[in-house]
């Protein structure tokens, strides 16, 4: 097992390197630092001096790949400074001069506070609904529920947020519209984003799990269980659910690490100071250093998610052996 994990982590290195090369190409080769500086400084007629100054402050004044004027031609370059250092989780400074690493450490907790409950409640509710639908399969209830799912997943997430905020916070005044406080005082700020996140995910989730369970429901062992006279309730909970969990796990475990990153939309609408709104602010302020770091962090978490998926297989499906 440990062997397997180590090998998988080693496999991840070339992928992370690839991610770095892609982002590096996007940020430094397609557009030169000069152009970035010009956009950042805002004016079309900026003096060369101002541009050089801007670049020097942020370390963009070095050559891209090979620095002939330096003692260490390969490490004293933009590529090494800005990309390779990311591999050691050294995020450097944002274009505004703040340390990205400590910003991330600070901001991941609010993101997690919203995302983790949303995720857990959402998945359990979706599974519950899917089981219910499967229990009444091939009836009017099934059809109505599936139609409702399609309707719900056709609504853009933005509308759930706008509608929910308007209804619960503005008209009913049950919760504050937006804001965040750490600790238990912040609970009232978290309720609405979590509810909206769960509701917004019901359509797609329930429909997906329903297909999974339906496919499982046609298997022989289910028929055998019914033939033995096992009650429908027991068939669902004891036979269908554990076996249906295997395909569900693939779609679920992979997102767990990404919960840290939070949701861009949710956090910006509710004013939650998490990583999602951090990224969004960076995008809007064109702070490329932060965007680059978040791209890297996102891919690291995704790769961890893939690894966790494989490991979780061994727990739910004893047939799977990792080697």
């Amino acid at each position: 097992m440990l062997n397997y994990i180590i090998r998988r982590l080693l496999y991840a290195l070339p992928i992370l390197l690839g991610v770095n090369i892609i982002t590096f190409a996007l940020f430094f080769v397609v557009n030169s630092p000069d152009q970035m500086a010009r956009v950042h400084l805002g004016d079309k007629h900026v003096s060369e001096e101002a541009i050089d100054n801007w670049k020097a402050q942020r370390g963009y004044d070095k050559p891209l790949f090979i620095n002939h004027n330096s003692d260490s031609p390969l490490t004293d370059t933009i590529f090494f400074d800005k990309s390779i250092r990311l591999l050691a989780f050294d995020f450097g400074k944002s274009d505004e001069g703040r340390s990205i690493g400590s910003d991330i450490q600070q901001r991941m907790w609010p993101s997690l506070a919203v995302q983790l409950p949303t995720f857990i409640i959402g998945v359990s509710i979706n599974i519950l609904f899917a089981l219910l639908i499967v229990m009444f399969r091939a009836t009017v209830f099934d059809m109505a529920a599936v139609t409702l799912c399609v309707v719900m997943l056709s609504i853009s997430g933005v509308f759930y947020i706008i509608g929910g905020q308007y209804l619960f916070a503005k008209i009913l005044s049950l919760v504050p519209i937006s804001g965040y406080l750490p600790g238990s005082d912040g609970l009232k700020f978290l309720i609405l984003p979590i509810i909206i996140g769960v509701i917004g995910g019901i359509g797609a989730g329930t429909r997906l799990y329903r297909t999974v369970f339906l496919e499982e429901a046609t298997r022989d062992y289910i028929r055998t269980a019914r033939a033995k006279g096992v009650s429908e309730f027991h068939v669902l909970l004891r036979h269908l659910l554990p076996n249906g969990m295997i395909p569900i796990l693939t779609s679920v475990v992979v997102v767990i690490p990404s919960l840290f990153i939070g949701s861009l939309l949710m956090e910006s609408f509710f004013g939650i100071p998490g990583l999602g709104s951090y990224t969004l602010d960076a995008i809007q302020a064109q702070d490329f250093a932060i965007v680059r770091s978040m791209v890297f962090l996102g891919s690291v978490l995704y790769i961890i998610g893939l690894l966790l998926t494989d490991i979780s297989y061994t727990f739910v499906d004893p047939r799977v052996r990792l080697s």
Binding site: L26, F27, N31, L153, L265, V295
Partner: protein, 492 residues
């Protein structure tokens, strides 16, 4: 005098329509695919949602026929100027007084603009609620006797034929009734001919569902056009533009982003996916490496990063994009390309797995034994057997891209701000919703139009999946789907 203008996105969308036509034509030689498509259209849901999609697509096509109007050789009075251009800030007016050469308006218009001209020209000053005849905000007004009062002024265009508020409801009802009758007559003319021709032949196609859809669409169109010309059905936005016109203009953005981005994913996914599964070895390794790397980058961040860079590119090459429409079009195409380039990995993975499976089958081995060349094996044996995967991905992706556009525009990395899109409307809603009283109509209009397109696309893609996905065949037998019941009740 008009001068046709072909934007790049126009060219692409018409090429796409031509390609679709070819696809339908070649379907005639393929009885199996024909049967599957028939089962899609034999379901009520499939047929109705297809008609709705067709309706949206035709609006988008009408909006893709662009032209520039010739300006009259004499200089215009300010009044006329507002009539010839629909966006006031655009009405730059070249000096044509001295030279006799025909000058063209800087404003690129489309055929749809001409159809909507009646509604479009009614420019108010600022926000106004749906069907309102008074403005949303108070203004200082000088009365006839010289006193200044602060009150809601009457709107310039909406309901200008009414004397006072009390007549409004009766007028709306009368006009609605009138519009419905007109719509119904048009619908009956459309449907009646077909019904007379086919009433004695039995058909599996649920024509009645189609008739209902067409009739509803006709009535809705006639109602919107008739009432839209005297009221603002969905109100007006901050600068007084009719929200209905904006939402209709946004149809093109939505439909095009869905189709063009999907279209871009296809060639990449098909070529890489099939060659990885077919040739195996190092090609497989490389393709797998590429798609794992790409898919490990959070999609929205990759898109945002790419769009930011396009912005920088446009800003530094400003001289190449002198017309607003051309700049917006370039940015739009770039967005489609980025969406396409970042979302081919899912389909590629599916195609690779399926090709791996198929290339082990006997008939492929037999083809190899006969010395059939690789391109021929792929073209004759592999590709036809993975079409269902491609088709399902195609229809599924469409609605995803339409939804993605809204989110991206909200984040600020979507289409150009000068282009009407549902995302831009939602984006504006942020500040509107915090006003008091709330400006809710803009976001509602965007919701209605977007939701009906995405819902139709999702319902249609469900039917396509039911018909083409072999894995769903047995679950469909277990649970009679709507498609099944429609087939048994079939026809009329």
């Amino acid at each position: 005098m008009i001068k046709p203008v072909l934007l790049w996105s126009d060219i692409l969308i018409f090429l796409l329509v031509a390609a679709l036509g070819l696809f339908v034509l070649q379907l005639r030689n393929n009885p199996q695919a024909k049967k599957r498509w028939a089962s899609v259209f034999h379901s009520k849901v499939g047929l109705s949602s297809f008609i709705v999609i067709l309706f949206y697509v035709s609006i988008a096509l009408l909006d893709s026929l662009h032209f520039r109007e010739a300006l009259p050789p004499v200089s215009l009075t300010p009044d006329e100027r507002t009539l010839t251009s629909d966006e006031s800030q655009q009405s730059s007016q070249p000096d044509t007084g001295q030279s006799q050469a025909v000058a063209y308006d800087n404003q690129i218009k489309s055929v749809l603009d001409v159809i909507l001209a009646d509604i479009e020209k009614n420019h108010e000053k600022t926000y106004s609620a749906p069907f309102a005849i008074y403005s949303f905000s108070k203004e200082n007004m000088t009365l006839a006797d010289g006193t200044v009062v602060r009150d809601f002024p009457r709107l310039q265009y909406a309901g200008s034929h009414l004397n006072n508020e009390s007549e409004r409801l009766a007028d709306i009802i009368a006009r609605s009734a009138d519009a419905m009758v007109t719509g119904l007559v048009i619908a009956l003319l459309l449907i009646g001919g077909h019904w007379l021709a086919t009433r004695n032949t039995s058909s599996q196609v649920p024509w009645r569902a189609a008739y209902w859809t067409i009739a509803l669409l006709c009535i809705a169109c006639s109602w919107l056009l008739e009432l839209g010309s005297v009221y603002h059905i969905f109100g007006t936005d901050k600068v007084g533009q009719d929200v209905l016109v904006q939402s209709i203009k946004a149809v093109r953005t939505g439909v095009l982003i869905g189709t063009l981005a999907t279209l871009l994913t296809l060639p990449i996914a098909i070529i890489l996916g099939i060659s990885a599964g077919y040739f195996k070895g190092w090609i497989d390794d490389v393709v797998q490496y590429i798609y794992i790397t790409l898919s490990s980058i959070p999609g929205i961040l990759l898109i945002a990063a790419s769009v930011l860079l396009i912005d920088v590119y446009i800003e530094t090459h400003a001289e190449d994009f002198n017309l607003t429409a051309i700049r917006a079009d370039f940015k739009f195409l770039a967005l489609c390309a980025i969406l396409g380039l970042t979302s081919w990995t899912g389909l590629c993975r599916l195609l690779r797995a399926e090709t791996l499976k198929i290339s082990q089958l006997d008939y492929v081995q037999a083809a190899h034994a006969f010395g059939v060349s690789h391109p021929r094996v792929i073209g004759k044996h592999i590709l036809p057997n993975v079409t269902h995967i491609i088709l399902i991905a195609l229809v599924l992706d469409f609605s995803g891209f339409v939804l993605a556009e809204a989110v991206l525009s909200y984040i600020g990395v979507g289409v150009d701000a000068s282009m009407s899109s549902w995302g831009n409307m939602i984006n504006a809603a942020r500040s509107e919703l915090s006003r008091d009283p709330v400006v809710w109509w803009s976001v509602s209009a965007a919701f209605v139009f977007m939701f009906s397109l995405v819902l139709a696309a999702n319902l249609f893609s469900d039917q396509v999946r039911n018909a083409f996905d072999p894995r769903l065949a047995h679950t469909a037998a277990d649970a009679p789907s709507s498609q099944h019941t429609a087939a048994t009740q079939g026809g009329q």
